[in-house]
Symmetry: C2
Subunit: 465 residues, 2 copies
């Protein structure tokens, strides 16, 4: 047995559910399905119920089963009716099984719950044919069918290995918070490359943009035209106009490539274990933290706003002359922390202002305006063809400046977070940031991981498996 085979066998123990888990999950799924059949029977437009997702395909990772029950409705029932039926009946189903439940939102609301320690979702979809999708989840039963038609026991193991491998490097999940690789995409990748090892050898050689053909291929040239900014393109076998990998960011794809290179060169079971949190020294790093409260919102909506705002603040800082080395965001309950590492928390006291070339119409204007400015410290002078001047900055501290820009509406933040951001607490590593998060485990671990700054795939190096 090669080192690689050995590692994969060991990794299987991490990702393959044991027999007892299998029995418990499939039994629970069958019970949930039959209860749904009964309870939804007679509801307007109800057609049938089915198990979808990784349980239906037998591709879930040990300890991470989620039972997805899809309730199929006739297309002539409106979206509103579908939603209200799901919410009222779905809740009753879970209560009937002794579980607890709550409302969740993705493209439309659904019921999430927990029954006998297993996460369950009750989702409504319309029964339409390919090309006539009404809601975003109408494709799901077709996905299940496509994947099942291609599966073998070996591929099931390999899909679980890939999911475990992606979890081990923080790359699993298509949520906006993660921007990684979904379960369905994982399955298609393994199917398309006929196994985990072949896939990883291929990924190790990828250079974005990457195009992968499966069923119903549209061809690389056409794909690049149709999805111009996607670093990874895999047309959905059940709907080639859709890119299954649309959610994957360039960074996450690059980390996948890197993880594959590292694993192929030196296989280790460590890659299938989530990296440990590293205690990192605060040292004299220059950090800026923005704390604000957020309302309860569907995670993808909230995280869309958080990331948009995070980038808006970074751009504003950079525009004014700060060097932003890194930016990150974390959520803890109803609180969000945007964290920035800067080259320095203070701008130079004097700022070089570039004027026009002397031969431009407005050169004399620039001179007159500059000479009249109270903050002029030197110039205007001529260097090469251009005019320059040196201006004195009033404020140079990142936190004071950011506070002022936010108050003046000069930061491109998400509309939904505007008010929250106005009430934000802005702290730096010099003004109490570390003290502020000392008691908050989420934020502390987030800070540590930013301070340590080692990409998850790289953290596996040198770990004793």
């Amino acid at each position: 047995m090669t080192r690689l085979e050995q590692v994969l066998e060991e990794a299987s123990l991490i990702v393959e559910p044991e027999e007892s888990e299998r029995r418990h999950v499939t039994g629970m799924a069958a019970k949930l399905l039959s209860t749904c059949m009964e309870e939804f029977e007679g509801c307007e437009g109800f057609l049938s119920a089915s198990i979808e997702g990784s349980v239906a395909k037998d591709t879930w990772v040990k300890g991470r089963a989620e039972v997805d029950v899809f309730i199929h409705f006739s297309p002539d029932v409106g979206m509103e009716k579908l939603e209200s039926t799901i919410l009222s009946v779905g809740g009753r189903v879970i209560e009937g099984l002794g579980g607890r439940h709550w409302l969740r939102y993705a493209s439309h609301p659904y019921i999430e719950g927990e029954v006998e320690a297993v996460r369950v979702n009750i989702v409504g979809c319309f029964e339409t044919g390919p090309g006539h999708w009404i809601s975003a989840v109408d494709r799901t039963p077709y996905h299940t069918e496509f994947v099942r038609s291609r599966l073998t026991p070996e591929l099931r193991r390999d899909i679980r290995l890939l999911k475990g491998f992606l979890i081990g490097s923080g790359l699993y999940g298509a949520e906006i918070r993660v921007e990684g690789i979904s379960g369905y995409l994982s399955e298609l990748l393994v199917i398309g490359h006929a196994g985990f090892t072949k896939l990883l050898r291929s990924v190790a050689g990828w250079r974005p943009p990457v195009y992968i053909e499966l069923n119903g291929s549209i061809g690389r040239a056409e794909a690049l035209k149709q999805f111009p900014n996607a670093p990874l393109i895999l047309p959905d076998p059940v709907d080639p106009a859709r890119n299954v990998a649309a959610a994957v960011s360039t960074t996450k794809l690059a980390e996948f490539i890197l993880a594959s290179k590292l694993f192929i060169r030196s296989p280790s079971v460590s890659f299938f274990k989530p990296p440990e949190v590293v205690m990192a020294e605060e040292g004299d790093r220059e950090l800026l933290g923005v704390f604000f409260k957020v309302a309860e919102l569907p995670p993808d909506i909230l995280w869309g706003e958080i990331k948009h705002t995070m980038r808006g603040v970074a751009r504003r800082l950079e525009k004014e002359g700060f060097q932003v080395y890194r930016a990150g965001a974390a959520q803890s309950g109803n609180e969000v922390l945007l964290l920035y590492e800067l080259a320095g928390l203070t701008l130079p006291r004097y700022e070089l202002r570039m004027g026009p070339p002397v031969w431009m119409e407005n050169a004399l204007d620039f001179i007159e305006k500059t000479l009249r400015r109270g903050e002029r410290a030197a110039g205007p002078w001529v260097e090469g063809e251009r005019l320059y001047a040196l201006l004195r900055r009033e404020d140079t501290e990142a936190d004071r400046l950011l506070r002022r820009w936010i108050e003046a509406g000069q930061v491109a933040v998400s509309h939904g977070l505007k008010e929250e951001l106005r009430r934000a607490e802005i702290l730096t590593s010099r003004s109490g940031l570390f003290e502020r998060i000392k008691e908050n485990k989420d934020f502390r671990e987030f800070l540590y991981s930013l301070l340590d700054g080692v990409s998850p795939p790289i953290r596996h190096l040198g770990r004793r498996s």
Copy 2:
């Protein structure tokens, strides 16, 4: 009389020599010429002597006359013989007239001296025809002849006005220290534009590269090809393969354009007076000064080395992450001061190091090397396609770093100044720079002008004439 005419009339009083000066200078020139004729008579290869330069052309600026006597030799006398004859006989001539003299170097050595309070130069040239030049000064008699053939009393006045105007903004002189406009170029510019006012109106509309036709034009397209990096091109009427404006830097040309725009818009006699030294506040500006001794050298050679070294130090500082706002150099006796204004005298403690994209062959190399570095503070991490890391800097102070780079030979300095620079004194505005130059008028005024930073043409604005 228009405002402009009034100003030019007033300016004439500044630049036009009075009758007594004229008589004294021309009398002295005649005496010097006849003495040279006598003394050089019989020397090997001696052909004749002549007055050249601004005295010969009657275009010198009041109080700034220099009498240039050219001693013409036959081309079959070698350069060495010419030099030794000039040095031995030239010195005797000046002594005979009761003056004092010393040796100077341009392209080749010549005698400089002072007789009856007038600067005199005795220069040896070969009498060759156009196109057969042996030494760099063989063209000079042809320059004199060309200019004289075009002069009128009005143009003489206008040439003096232009020279005074250029002196008033620090733009006069082709020396490397100045990189400005020579006397001969001033004369050609006024002749070519038929007067001072027409010239300035034209200059105010210039946009580099500027091509000017006179006698023996080669055409704009050909000129740009022949002198590809020159911001100003004026082919020499006596030798079109040579650019009379070769010494003019882009900055000085731009200042000339700017001075012309400002003067045309609002004429003032202030433009004909050298700008006063401005007392400037030191404030909290971030200055770095490099003091070193220099050997006695021909000014153009020394200043070539100073400027080369000044730029080499600036490039090194910038390469390492300092932002250099301005750089300048000054000489006081045998000491030179290079002065830099920086955004900050301290680099950020942590440095962002960009690695390769993950798909490159050497990505894993970068990771391994970075993980082994003692100065690694964070990373490597992935952002977009690339790897990055954060390294901790040992030294962050500009003066300490520069000292180290110089000692390690990591600064591109002029070879001739290498040893001097190793013994340089490096001071900052925080470490005694201001104290160091308190007693040195040259350096103090240089520092003030850098702190004030207003380009000389702009300093004329708002001055009471």
